[in-house]
């Protein structure tokens, strides 16, 4: 009956990993308030493993839930593995999103990759999963991938 399923509602009502990391190793911001959603994801990386992730999101229920789920999915993962996560996997973990809300998962996916990209830039690292990745790419271009 609800707008979203129980998992999405849980991640919206009780979002995991909300906040900011003061000495973050990488920060990614994606989206725009003009379009109705903007996410910031920050990560800590040690020995190529993402040890912590935090997010801040301006947006609707599914944008907040997608950010929450995406951060839980990358914590503890090697960077290269985290880069393999697709927006589709975020949707699957959330148990599905309404069709008009799929772009929220794209945003979360992009924000995660942007944070890793920032970390890679600052530390002179290259990752296969970042090949061809443009942190400033348009939201709409990314949406084609779904």
């Amino acid at each position: 009956m609800g707008l979203y399923n129980d998992t999405v509602m849980d991640h919206f009502m009780n979002p995991r990993n909300v906040g900011e990391i003061e000495d973050a190793d990488g920060t990614g911001v994606y989206g725009s308030p003009v379009c109705g959603d903007m996410m910031q994801v920050q990560i800590k990386v040690k020995d190529d493993i993402i040890t912590d992730a935090k997010f801040k999101t301006f947006g609707c229920g599914s944008a907040i839930a997608s950010s929450s789920m995406a951060t839980t999915m990358i914590i503890g993962k090697p960077v290269e593995e985290a880069l393999e996560i697709s927006n589709k996997q975020i949707i699957n973990e959330l148990g599905g999103l309404p069709a008009v809300k799929v772009h929220c998962s794209v945003l979360a996916d992009h924000a995660i990759k942007s944070a890793i990209y920032d970390y890679a830039q600052k530390n002179g690292k290259t990752y296969k999963g970042l090949e061809g990745f443009d942190p400033d790419a348009d939201d709409d271009d990314n949406e084609e991938e779904k």
Binding site: L3, F12, M13, P15, V18, V29, S32, P33, V34, C35, G36, D37, M38, M39, Q40, K56, T57, F58, G59, C60, G61, A63, I64, V100
Partner: protein, 391 residues
């Protein structure tokens, strides 16, 4: 859990007195008003009584009131039929940017058929300026349609002045009064309008029922063709219980109008006062002068957070409101009304419409304020934008 309904502009509950009048017309008084035996004639009498009740509420003659299936049908009927009847005379229709979609989307359909539509800009508080209307009129103009009260920001439009401009140029004038009915005193004779759309479910009547006022002497073709119901103007067997309910709701609206307006205004003003005083970074959209605003409407932007999130969290406290955010609409388009009064998109997304009604109490508002504070604070903690960082 406690339930607080603050979306009376979306729809209203059917009042007990209304429902009581309706029920017999589903069962023992089920006759077809077109039938000539006793229960048919009784049904016909019931329709006539309801017609008189609705007519009385708006100062019309009962013969000028035609029942329809709702506000949207009434709007479609006027626009499509006037366009069709007067297309030899001209192809220009004037409306405003802040109309309901029943008007805007019908205008878009007419554009595809070759009609020229002027969408008048509105002032900062949503007012359609009669001078702007005057300036938009051409020798091809056949109809002006401006809503009586805006459904999102509550602006009461200067219908009498606007209708006078149209009349001066011999142009037909329609107003969509769906949000005005029962909330503003209406006298169609004084207003000088040719057509007026109405809906039952906004005034504590049943859904699926509405009416169109057509001024005596004005003729337009039918939209729904078939039998001779509604004086040959609107075919289809009457929604008898719906019409009876609408009639009773109109009668109650007329009796209660002064109390209704003062009750709603008091609670609405209290809500706005507390929200603007107790929650930072908020602003009210629409007219601040209560004489120029729907008595129950409060439209408030909460900066740095998004409306669907606010709506969902309020819903978790049992509170029902609506939002202008794109994220809550199936089209993903932000509110055209808020855009028309100059609210930037990022702030439209954080806008909530509260509408109070006859069953709202001061206690309800106190509960809503308590919950609202928690919701706004929580979402601002999560948000990637804030008053320090800015947008």
């Amino acid at each position: 859990m406690r339930q607080v309904y603050l979306d009376y502009s979306a729809t209203t509950p059917v009042k007990e007195e209304v429902l009581k009048e309706m029920i017999p017309y589903y069962t023992e008084k089920f006759g077809n008003p077109s039938s000539l035996y006793t229960i048919g004639l009784e049904a016909k009498d019931a329709v006539d009584k309801a017609r008189a009740q609705v007519a009385h509420l708006i100062g019309a003659d009962p013969k000028e009131v035609y029942f329809t299936a709702g506000g949207s049908e009434s709007d479609n009927w006027v626009l499509l039929s006037v366009a069709n009847a007067l297309k030899e005379k001209g192809n220009h229709i004037i409306t405003s940017r802040i109309e309901h979609h029943a008007i805007l989307h019908t205008c878009q359909a007419l554009e595809k058929l070759g009609f020229d539509i002027t969408y008048l800009d509105v002032e900062k508080d949503g007012t359609v300026n009669p001078e702007a209307l005057e300036a938009a009129i051409t020798d091809k103009t056949i109809l002006v349609s401006v809503m009586f009260v805006n459904n999102e920001i509550g602006t009461i439009e200067p219908i009498k002045e606007l209708a006078a401009v149209a009349k001066k140029h011999n142009i037909l004038f329609h107003t969509d009064a769906v949000q005005a009915l029962g909330n503003v005193k209406i006298d169609v004779k004084d207003l000088g309008v040719d057509f007026m759309s109405m809906s039952s479910h906004k005034i504590y009547g049943p859904k699926g029922e509405g009416a169109l006022y057509i001024r005596k002497g004005v003729r337009i073709p039918s939209l729904i063709n078939g039998g001779a119901q509604e004086m040959g103007k609107r075919a289809g067997t009457e929604n008898l219980p719906g019409i009876v309910g609408f009639g009773k709701a109109a009668e109650l609206a007329e009796t209660n109008i002064d109390n209704h307006i003062s009750h709603c205004r008091e609670l609405r003003n209290y809500l706005i006062e507390r929200v603007t005083k107790e929650i930072p970074d908020v602003f009210v959209n629409g007219p601040l002068d209560q004489e120029r605003r729907h008595p129950g409407n409060a439209n408030i932007t909460f900066e740095y957070i998004e409306g669907e999130s606010i709506l969902l969290l309020l819903d978790s406290f049992g509170i029902a409101v609506s939002t202008g955010s794109a994220c809550s609409s199936k089209s993903l388009e932000p509110s055209h009304v808020l855009a028309s009064i100059g609210v930037p998109d990022e702030k439209i997304h954080g806008t909530i419409r509260f509408t109070v009604g006859d069953f709202t109490t001061k206690d309800d508002i106190d509960y809503v304020i308590d919950c609202l504070k928690k919701v706004v604070e929580r979402l601002r903690e999560i948000s990637s934008v804030n008053s320090k960082k800015g947008w």
